[in-house]
């Protein structure tokens, strides 16, 4: 039976819950159980005697049984208590929420650019196989897969900041001395527009261009590749041949027979591409000193500060799940076969 769109979306939403539960368990196992003894890790320095370790173990609940620890952990996570960062001294949740908009702004900008460019490139290549565009597309698809994000970022900085001086100093989201616009959305581009602050908007945009380009380049390759392959397959399909034999108008054939069907495999890879981008985020944020959740997690990693890492991993899993949900729903909209209920 084919389901209606709302019913399908609701079922997908339900299907994501066990995955999220699994993610929480996974984080618990990896971050709490694997380290030989987190307490010994945390208590370093001269005051780290056995009593202190024992006291800390008791405070962290490490002396309890594993199921009990898991239950407490799940309770804490559900109540939004992700612990405190030892470095900033703030609750992890507050830290993450404060930095999330920066990462989102960067990722969304890069994703949008990559999506537009990748699909345009792949489409141009598919409609003219063997042409210069096609060769360029094939080259970019392979080369783009081989590019380490951090090397690309460094090269862009060297060319556009050091050599040409076109781009602002690659540190943060705004010029150092500039007063940020009042935070409404957390997205600087939107906030500066709302505040009518042209200078801040230009500065924010200038700072965004290079890191977004670095990340976009990363996502462009798989998108161009899948678009090209999907369209070529669809254009050679029996149903496009049927449409041509029936002499349907070209626009109708291209939009509703070719592009619609080619969109199905493209959409299903978006989740994977987004996952790559969330990973690349950490590296790009480091290179551009971008004050997002990636660089926050990185600081925590380097100082073995466990609570922020756990919080970060959970947040990333949550956003990945949300994107996958969107992708699933989009897939269901595009392809009725996805909505069959067995």
């Amino acid at each position: 039976m084919r389901q209606s769109i709302p019913a399908f979306a609701a079922r997908r939403l339900l299907a994501i819950l066990p995955v999220l539960a699994g993610a929480v368990v996974f984080v618990f196992v990896v971050m709490r159980l694997l380290p030989a003894d987190p307490a010994a890790f945390l208590v370093t320095g001269p005051q780290g005697g056995p009593e202190q370790i024992a006291a800390l173990r008791a405070r962290l609940g490490l002396d309890r049984s594993i199921p009990e620890q898991l239950a407490r952990y799940v309770r804490d996570v559900l109540s939004g208590d992700l612990g405190r960062s030892l470095t900033t001294g703030e609750p992890v949740l507050a830290d993450l929420l404060q930095r999330l908009p920066a990462s989102l702004e960067l990722t969304i900008a890069a994703f949008a650019v990559a999506l537009a460019a990748g699909i345009a490139l792949g489409t141009a290549a598919a409609f003219r196989p063997g042409s210069a565009v096609d060769h360029a597309c094939r080259f970019i698809a392979t080369a783009g897969n081989s590019l380490p994000g951090f090397v690309v970022g460094l090269c862009l900085i060297y060319v556009f900041y050091v050599r040409l001086g076109w781009s602002p100093e690659p540190v943060g989201r705004l010029d150092g001395l500039m007063v940020p616009p009042p935070a409404v959305t957390g997205f600087l581009l939107a906030d500066s527009l709302l505040a009518g602050d042209g200078a801040a908007f230009r500065s924010a945009l200038g700072h965004l261009v290079l890191p977004a380009a670095t990340m976009a380049l990363f996502a462009l390759a798989p998108l161009a590749r899948i678009t090209r392959a999907a369209l070529i397959e669809v254009l050679a399909s029996d149903y496009v041949r049927t449409a041509r034999a029936l002499q349907l108008p070209t626009r109708l054939v291209v939009v509703h027979y070719a592009l619609h069907n080619a969109a199905v495999p493209i959409v299903t890879t978006l989740g994977l591409i987004f996952s790559y981008m969330l990973g690349a985020n950490v590296l790009v944020e480091k290179v551009f000193a971008w004050p997002g959740i990636g660089s926050y997690a990185l600081e925590a990693v380097l100082s073995a500060d466990y609570a922020p890492i756990q919080g970060y991993v959970l947040l990333v899993a949550l956003s990945f799940a949300a994107v996958n949900l969107l992708v699933d729903i989009l897939y269901g909209l595009l392809d009725p076969r996805a909505r069959i209920r067995p």
Partner: protein
């Protein structure tokens, strides 16, 4: 376009393997010898890739790094190939409880961006080179499990498998004697494409300060060390190791594509 490029990629991989084997013996300078007086020199006839802030020869360091980068990637990929293919094939053929649990673990792993999982694993297991290998192997595992599982599930009722059963072959012989050997070519393609990815991943981890640590030479670490000098114009410290990394990954990806085209002309996409 595939054939000449594919051959070039294979040659490049041959060169990389050669450098990994004999690199330390043939480099012009001691990669660890510091001479602060001649620090940060641009590329020249003596120092082809210039020197870093401690006066170490970057060319020598880049060449010596080949061994470590390839070793990490290759051992990680082999580890995940062997375990992943075995688990996946068994899941695909036998189904049942094993398949359900393996599927759940894979889903759980895939619920995270894999680079982030690798980060978390290295932090949890301890910051060492061996753990970079394990972390890279673990995040590769889902691909091999899923790939082998899907391919075996498609083939488990194939005519030649039925024929083998009729010919007296038991389940284990069918999985390991009939099905896996038939997957070997496609697994080789996966492996080649995967090696590039594994190199990128390990270098990325080192770049952010996990795994390999200075003064050991590794492309990611070398790039990270050079990054601060980029702003002041000493580009060569970071760029040459970065290019070496890029070139190596590119070679493995091209070779993987060429191999795929060679083995399966129908699936030619790029």
């Amino acid at each position: 376009m595939t054939r000449p490029l594919g051959i070039a990629a294979l040659l490049a991989i041959g060169l990389l393997i050669l450098l990994a084997l004999i690199g330390p013996a043939i480099v012009p300078h001691d990669p660890l010898a510091t001479r602060v007086a001649s620090g940060l020199q641009p590329p020249s006839a003596v120092h082809w890739f210039g020197t870093d802030q401690l006066g170490r020869d970057i060319f020598s360091r880049v060449v010596v790094a080949t061994r470590l980068d390839l070793a990490i990637a290759a051992s990680a990929v082999c580890l995940s190939l062997v375990t992943g293919a075995a688990i996946g094939a068994a899941c695909g053929y036998f189904g049942g409880v094993l398949d359900r649990w393996a599927g759940r673990v894979v889903d759980m792993l895939m619920a995270f961006p894999l680079f982030v999982v690798a980060m978390a694993l290295v932090v949890a297991l301890g910051n060492s080179v061996a753990n970079i290998v394990y972390a890279t192997a673990i995040i590769n595992l889902p691909f091999y499990i899923r790939f082998a599982r899907a391919e075996v599930a498609v083939r488990r009722d194939a005519g030649y498998v039925q024929a083998a059963r009729l010919g007296g072959a038991g389940p284990w012989r069918i999985v390991f004697g009939t099905l896996l050997p038939n997957l070997a070519p496609s697994l080789a393609v996966q492996m080649s494409l995967n090696l590039g990815w594994a190199i990128l991943n390990a270098a990325g981890l080192s770049f952010i300060g996990l795994g390999v640590r200075p003064p050991a030479a590794e492309w990611g670490v070398l790039t990270a060390e050079g990054a601060p000098f980029l702003i002041s114009g000493q580009w060569w410290v970071a760029v040459f190791p970065g290019l070496a990394l890029m070139g190596a990954v590119f070679a493995f990806n091209l070779a993987g594509d060429a191999l795929r085209d060679l083995l399966d002309p129908r699936r030619r996409t790029t």
